[in-house]
Amino acid sequence: MNTIGLLVIILFILMVFVGGGQGIKAFLGLIINFFVIFILIILINWQFNPYVVTAIMGTIILAVAIYLGADNADVADTAFKTSVIVVAILMLLSIVIQYFGQFQGFANENSEELEGLSLTVGLSFSHIAMIVMVISILGAVSEAAMAIVADLNEVVQRTTDMTSQSLYAHTRIIGGQILGTAINTLFFGVLGANLPLLIWFVRLKYSLAMFVNAKLLMVEVVTMVLGMLGILLSIWLASWFVVRRYVRQQKVGINNERDI
């Protein structure tokens, strides 16, 4: 039996066991997102406007990831609102960065893989570089938003009589911790993914000048930093949304009591 097939089955069983119906939904979400990325590839390949395609597909991916991931509608709404705003900001930023840094395409290090492939394919690789940056931050942004909103909601539900100051203190504590670990996740993810490339650079004794300017390495660093910015912004924005809604709900509650 195929190894990947076996592991997919193990993953599915675990997700159902741990998450129940929620697990099935999350698994479904992953598969849907896989197909959404396929559609994105096909549309870009047909030369549709890359900015429009990325914006639409990015929103769909976020929606699928968040609404099929969360079972609480309030959590999902806030997280989705946050993620869309943050990703929009970061997409603009990535366009600027790509313009100045020219991170597109391949480098000489790839020559072996590129053997026999035509490089004059008439598809703008600078657009593709932008798409790669946006796609890779989608996950990190939605995860951070979900984590902070879910945690704060949990706290709000468990403790009924909380002042908004107390909630605010919670957002700071929980936000700081989620920020730290989420940034570390991304950091490890990128380090792990680039292990072979880094070993290559060390083996071939690249100079420091090439380390800090080489396209292949810098594009990873930029993606990572963009992701970290995304995490930070979404924690910030999401906790602001949660506190604001809580304060408003409390006011409504007080008004209702007066009416009675």
Binding site: T3, I10, G69, T120, F125, G180, T181, K215
Partner: protein, 348 residues
């Protein structure tokens, strides 16, 4: 803002730090446009540009001819104001790379500035310190791996991963019970995940896994892949374990509970929400990385099955493995926290 501008200005004028010649483009002349069509009917434009470059850490000007293709898959279009890293071979200057340190540096400065704004000086400096320590540890492991003959790659990077986790958790959370619990669950879950991977590979005899498609390989790809997976899984699991533990400690701050089942339920519900999105994080990173190659192969007339096999195979495998780790972390963490908390409240 001022600090940002300062960083940008400095990195734009840091040419004196380089040993290679560095130059700034002062004039660009475009010429000889011609259209070409490759064997797969993709049409593209080839352009030659003559660049006049003012050297910044040497004296004088040089002119370099640069040829690029409009799609810029491997070539670059340079513009006035771009700074280049050059190399002298014989009599001719030749372009080594675009100088990217100012873009990257400014972006990092922006991140640090925003972190400081959000998080106060102390917490941010700890976070950055932990990253620097990790980079240092990583560099050490890399050098060890390159210089020691027949080094056990998996062992080196597993030890590294443990140190990573310990260092970052201590620095982010401090030396608290919370940190100890998070570290314990992280290591436990990572070990379980790798065990599942190894057993599955053994059972199926690596069928359908193409370790040979890995890029930039300088040593045995299979062990390198394991090392990569250990680091990747560890990060994700650590994030998740820290999330649940942080939440459970938050609950405890508000209301001290004795019952194991309370913690178990809270942990399981929060994580049901996060599980899917966390797998998405890694999925997006792994898939996004393969996109340029997918487009290139697609345009070169390859079919989907072949592309999936050649470029996305390991990315998908890594996503699934990490997914298994992420899901496993839920029951492991909830159970461990519940167990420790219920005992901790009872003992005093």
């Amino acid at each position: 803002m001022i600090a940002l501008a300062a960083v940008w200005l400095f990195l734009r004028h840091d040419a004196f730090l380089y040993q290679n010649p560095v130059g700034e483009i002062t004039r660009v002349k475009q010429h000889t446009l011609h259209h070409i069509t490759d064997e797969h009917n993709n049409s593209d434009i080839v352009i030659n540009q003559t660049l006049t470059i003012k050297l910044l850490n040497r004296h004088g000007n040089v002119t370099v001819v640069n040829q690029y293709v409009a799609s810029q898959a491997m070539s670059h279009q340079y513009r006035i104001g771009d700074q280049l890293l050059l190399e002298k071979i014989g009599q001719h200057m030749h372009i080594l790379s675009l100088k990217r340190d100012m873009v990257v540096g400014t972006l990092i400065a922006l991140l640090v500035a925003l972190l400081l704004l959000y998080n106060k000086w102390r917490a941010t400096s700890w976070l950055l310190l932990s990253m620097l320590i990790n980079i240092g540890l990583f560099a050490g492991a890399l050098i060890l791996n390159v210089h020691v003959k027949n080094a056990n790659v998996l062992l080196i990077f597993s030890v590294l991963a443990t140190l990573f986790a310990a260092a970052s958790l201590v620095l982010v959370l401090g030396k608290t019970l919370q940190m100890a619990v998070t570290l314990l669950t992280t290591l436990l879950t990572t070990a379980m995940t790798i065990a599942i991977l190894l057993i599955s590979l053994r059972l199926t005899g690596n069928l359908g896994v193409h370790f040979e498609t890995m890029s930039y390989v300088t040593q045995v790809p299979a062990t390198l892949f394991m090392a990569q997976t250990v680091i990747g899984v560890l990060g994700a699991v650590m994030d998740e374990a820290a999330d649940i533990v942080a939440m459970l400690f938050g609950v405890r701050r508000e209301r001290v509970s004795v019952r194991f089942i309370d913690y178990w339920h809270s942990g399981m519900t929060v994580d049901r929400d996060i599980m899917g999105t966390l797998i998405n994080v890694l999925f997006m990173i792994f898939i996004a990385e393969t996109l340029p190659m997918v487009f290139l192969m697609l345009r070169n007339g390859n079919n989907w099955a072949y592309i999936l096999d050649q470029t996305m195979n390991l990315g998908i495998l890594q996503t699934i493995i990490s997914g298994i780790g992420i899901v496993l972390a839920v029951p492991v963490t909830s159970a461990l926290v519940g167990w420790i908390m219920s005992r901790k409240v009872m003992t005093p």
